[in-house]
Amino acid sequence: MSALLLIVALVLMAGIAAGLIRVAVGPTPSDRMMAAQLMGTSGIGVILLLAPVLAVPALIDVALIFSLLAAVAVTAFTRRRRADNGD
């Protein structure tokens, strides 16, 4: 079972690495934000998968914090106004 968890975690990490392509090529800031959001969700998945393998149940609290901060990041991105970056 532990081997399967590690394989699934590896697939998710490969997905994170592939998502970096979209962050690099853009073309708009929205696309980069979407890629960052998908990478955040995959990161939560990796943490949840590693918690039973490493036998560290506290990792689930890390995943909870991640899921809260992901919402804050997207909201902060869309609420940005022109006045913030000097006229």
Binding site: M1, L4, L5, V8, V11, L12, G15, A18, G19, I21, R22, T28, P29, S30, D31, M33, M34, A35, Q37, L38, T41, S42, I44, G45, L48, L49, P52, P57, I60, D61, A63, L64, S67, L68, A70, A71, V74, T75, T78, R80, R81, R82, N85
Partner: protein
């Protein structure tokens, strides 16, 4: 292999497939709204199936409740974020509007 482990392993693998499909969609799809569509599928269904597959491994009830809570938070955040990004894209293209 008892049946619960079998179902859990299958659920984990289908979840990983949804994550891969979402990532491929994000890279390959042509416009922003279809990319948003691919992203939300990976968020909601992929993570939901991974959480479902991890459920039998939970050591106690509290841990299982926290697993479901993580998924619920991601679903709520994903829906809100998708709406905000789509609205921003409809109002004005790319850089800051207003």
């Amino acid at each position: 292999m008892d049946p619960i482990q079998l179902v859990s392993g299958a659920s984990l693998m289908v979840g990983a497939f949804f994550f891969v499909a979402g990532t491929v969609g994000l890279i390959r799809l042509p416009d922003r709204f279809s990319r948003l569509h691919a992203l939300t599928k990976a968020d909601n269904v992929g993570l939901g199936l991974v959480v479902l597959g991890l459920m039998p491994l939970a050591p106690d009830l509290f841990y299982g409740v926290k697993l479901v809570l993580v998924w619920l938070l991601v679903v709520i955040a994903g829906a809100t974020g998708a709406h905000l990004i789509a609205k921003r894209a409809l109002r004005g293209d790319g850089e800051d509007v207003l």
